[in-house]
């Protein structure tokens, strides 16, 4: 069985300053298997794999490839060993074609025979069952096609150990199935595949074995056939957790927000959201689903008064039942007419918070104008910061510690805590649990439900369809900047939503 082991990592340790990314981690990968590396965000999955791919260099530990100890100093060393990693952010040149990207950086003869290259690549595609047009340019491609290019690029370089970092984060359910089929074909041809993930259902449906990391440390490896969703969660979290999300029924829903034919243009004048039309009610959670970049960000920003290039109207019903039009108002003007809109943007540190400031100063972002005179008051923000730290269990040395140096989950708690503190009438959150561990995620779901019960109108953009279907009352689906449907989350299925996410009739009209 010795020769069956492709990669062995022994006692791998990596620190970043006082932050422990990996502590004494062991990992083995066998020939012709799919190994899942499972762990919550921040458990050190990606940094461990980056050490295999030559991005980081371990502080301590040994790596063996096919029984021989190796030192991997750079991605080139990793390539030479047949290790290829597909990162979450693709590393492709937009203006080149798929084939050109695949051979980019490879040595070759003086004269480039593109036809021969394409023939070789096509063989690879057929062998594993990829679907890809080699002459298409990267910028014309969907995320899933770009991912295919990345995988083929690694295979063409002779990689037989493939590492995929959260490959399904940006895919629809249908695309995910297709990817898994290809990965299974590759396994059948003797390749070893490591996928980094925190989604349990994928682990169970795809992999042969699962290695679990928790807080940088190695917890253990189990055969997938012996594992259940419950047992894996326990390994990941270290304790039993309840995986049910509460969904109270809406009480006296009243129309709160009416988005009427809103179109948003980007800087180049292209439509990124076209003719969006929907209503949101008090006491409900309206989910927004869609592939990343389908206009979710623009939709929320246009309601929050942060989109300068838009047409259409946004109506808001205040407590007395009067309808106000928010269109053309800036974030500040909306606040001045007494409308409490809270917004947790996708880009937490680039928009919602100031990374270099502490919690107190970040609380001030919403309240520093309060009070007369030249000087900003720090007392109330400081108290609020202490309160949020206590209430939500934010882990930080002090409320003056820069939020940019906190972990993602704590950053999100700070941001959500501040936004909820204003007791909003409309609460908009984008990807509220991205980067959070399971317990923090459930804490956030509970906070959203609490706002819903208070009668707020909650709008939640999410990426995990299972969660959206369990948490929301209705789900609005965006496809390529259009509202392709609104479904009842209590009755809809994942497949239905997935199909709406990819309905592309508009695209064909344009083409």
């Amino acid at each position: 069985m010795e020769s069956n082991i492709m990669i062995e990592m022994r006692g791998i340790t990596k620190h970043f300053g006082s932050v422990v990314a990996n502590e004494n981690v062991d990992l083995t990968v066998r020939r012709g298997e799919i190994l899942s590396v499972l762990g919550e965000n921040g458990s050190g999955k990606t940094s461990l794999m980056n050490m295999l791919a030559g991005i980081y260099f371990p502080d301590a530990g040994h790596i063996f490839v096919e029984g021989r100890e190796v030192i991997i100093r750079s991605p080139k060393d990793a390539f030479d060993l047949g290790i290829g990693m597909i990162h979450q952010h693709f590393k492709l040149v937009d203006v080149l074609t798929a084939a050109e990207n695949i051979i980019l950086g490879l040595p070759g003869a003086m004269k480039l025979d593109m036809n021969q290259v394409k023939k070789d690549v096509q063989q690879l595609l057929d062998k594993y069952g990829f679907e890809l047009n080699l002459d298409a340019k990267i910028y014309e491609m969907s995320v899933s096609q770009k991912q295919t290019v990345e995988i083929v690029k690694m295979l063409y370089r002779g990689a037989h150990i493939l590492i995929l970092d959260e490959p399904t984060a940006v895919l629809t359910p249908q695309e995910t199935d297709k990817l898994f089929q290809v990965l299974r074909n590759m396994r059948a041809h003797g390749h070893s595949i490591i996928i980094i993930t925190h989604k349990l259902n994928e682990v169970l449906s795809l992999s042969d074995r699962v290695s679990v990391l928790r807080k940088g440390a190695y917890v253990g490896t189990v055969n997938t056939c012996d594992a259940t969703e419950m047992s894996l969660t326990e390994m990941m979290v270290g304790e039993k957790v309840v995986l049910d999300i509460e969904r109270p029924d809406p009480v006296n829903p009243v129309m709160k927000l009416h988005v009427d034919d809103v179109t948003v243009y980007n800087r180049e004048g292209r439509e990124v959201l076209s003719h969006a039309n929907f209503e949101a009610y008090t006491g409900e959670i309206l989910g927004i689903a869609g592939i990343a970049g389908s206009g979710q960000k623009e939709l929320l920003e246009s309601i929050a008064g942060l989109q300068p290039h838009m047409t259409g109207k946004i109506h808001y019903r205040n407590r007395k039942g009067h309808i106000k039009e928010l269109t053309e108002m800036s974030a500040q003007e909306i606040r001045e007419i007494g409308i409490r809109l809270a917004f947790v943007p996708e880009d937490r540190l680039g928009m919602g918070l100031v990374a270099s400031m502490g919690m107190t100063d970040n609380m001030m972002l919403r309240s520093y104008r309060k009070g007369h005179g030249l000087f900003a008051r720090r007392k109330e923000p400081h108290d609020l910061a202490e309160h949020i730290k206590e209430e939500l269990g934010v882990v930080t040395p002090s409320v003056d510690w820069p939020v940019g140096r906190m972990s993602g989950g704590n950053v999100q708690k700070v941001l959500v805590g501040r936004e909820i503190a204003s007791s909003p009438q409309v609460l908009m959150v984008a990807y509220p649990v991205r980067g959070l561990d399971i317990n923090s995620s459930y804490q956030i779901y509970a906070l959203l439900n609490e706002q819903k019960k208070k009668g707020s109108c909650v709008i939640c953009v999410g990426e995990d369809l299972d969660v959206l279907l369990a948490l929301c009352d209705r789900i609005l689906v965006l496809a390529d900047g259009r509202v392709s449907g609104v479904v009842d989350a209590r009755t809809a299925t994942k497949e239905e939503v997935g199909l709406l996410m990819t309905s592309e009739d508009k695209k064909e009209v344009q083409a």
């Binding site: 300053g17 490839v65 030479d80 928009m351 100063d361 972002l365 030249l374």
Partner: protein, 367 residues
């Protein structure tokens, strides 16, 4: 398969926060190292005793009470110009136009002194700084306005305004030259010292120093405790966050550059009315750019900037002495300053990172 098997000699590891004492120690070590390297270079190039060169340097900067006061005063002026770029840098607005803003402030002050001779002296005392401040504000707000409304590049814009300021002053000198034909202005109102900043002491150094110290306290409080200072920090960190918080970014850019211009105007006023009592195109003499070094080496903190400004002026004054005493030209001290700066800036790396060397004995591991 050509696997690399050699471990690299060292790799770089990030430190997680360095204690104040440790970073101070690293900085001191850097300065000592710099002085040793300088000494070696002095011996190699000139064969002179480096200790006597250092002694001359010290002597030139603070050897007599007059020299010491002048060194302090010039450091204060440089610091003041540093204050004129600091708020902009906090906002990530790359203001390279302090040179021109100070010069315009000085020119406006000079104009006041020349044309306002007949005014009652209290009125002139009030008008001179106001004119300087107003001119500085105008020169600071022009690029800010273009940046805010048309997103022009502020670095180029402020840089080019420096040249326009120089040309404007050259033009004014044609009218103000005294004696005629000299192509220079000479001491303005040398009889009666009308409009001159009053002397509190023998060398006329105390008042400018006090003014700049007061500015330091005011600016520190402004940046740290006021609503406007808070807005500047937010805009500097991320314009998106500023929009999100409902901050009017255009207004903050213009307002902050007006503040910068005003401080530059005060520096110009101090130069024209308190130090040189004249105006020339070279009055600022590159201090508008040295001030950028002051601001950044001082990490944009008014009090750290004091130390940097003093250090730079100290080296500059000392160098003149070296040049005279040892028959070297001023470039010798430029070399010393350069080496010092290299080490001081370079030691930041060691404050933030440490090197991990290859372990020599590796325990044998078998696969």
């Amino acid at each position: 398969m050509s696997a690399a098997v050699k471990e690299p000699l060292f790799h770089v590891v990030k430190r997680d926060g360095t204690s104040f004492g440790r970073s101070l120690l690293i900085r001191l070590a850097a300065i000592v190292l710099a002085l040793i390297v300088c000494a070696v270079i002095i011996v190699l190039l000139t064969g002179m005793n480096p200790l006597s060169v250092y002694a001359a340097l010290w002597n030139g900067a603070v050897g007599t009470s007059r020299r010491m006061w002048i060194t302090f005063r010039d450091a204060a002026i440089l610091l003041c110009i540093g204050f004129a770029v600091m708020p902009a840098f906090r906002m990530r607005f790359w203001n390279t136009g302090a040179e021109g803003q100070v010069l315009m402030g000085a020119a406006a002050t000079a104009a006041m002194m020349i044309y306002g001779k007949a005014l009652p002296s209290w009125l002139l005392y009030a008008l001179c700084p106001l004119a300087g401040i107003a001119a500085g504000i105008i020169w600071g707000v022009i690029p800010a306005f273009f940046k805010a409304y048309w997103n022009t590049n502020e670095t180029l814009f402020t840089l080019m305004l420096n040249y326009i300021a120089t040309q404007l002053v050259a033009f004014c000198i044609i009218f103000w030259e005294n004696p005629p034909g000299s192509n220079s202005v000479g001491l303005i109102n040398s009889k009666g010292k009308i409009g001159w900043l009053p002397n509190l002491d023998r060398y006329g150094c105390v008042l400018p120093i006090l003014i700049v110290l007061a500015l330091a306290v005011l600016l520190y409080a402004y940046m740290r405790y006021t609503k406007q200072g808070y807005e500047v920090s937010v805009v500097g960190e991320s314009e998106n966050t500023a929009h999100y918080a409902g901050i009017n970014v255009k207004r903050v850019i213009i307002r902050t550059m007006a503040l910068c211009g005003a401080v530059a105007g005060i520096a110009g006023y101090l130069l024209a009315s308190g130090v040189s009592h004249t105006i020339s195109t070279g009055l600022v003499g590159g201090r508008g750019f040295t001030a950028i070094i002051v601001a950044w080496l001082g990490k944009l903190n008014p009090f750290s900037m004091m130390i940097v400004a003093l250090g730079l002026v100290f080296m500059q004054k000392g160098s003149v002495e070296i040049a005279g005493q040892f028959n070297l030209n001023e470039n010798a001290s430029e070399i010393i300053t350069g080496i010092l700066l290299f080490f001081i800036l370079g030691c930041e790396f060691f404050i933030n990172y440490r090197l991990e060397f290859r372990k020599h004995e590796k325990e044998a591991v078998k696969a």
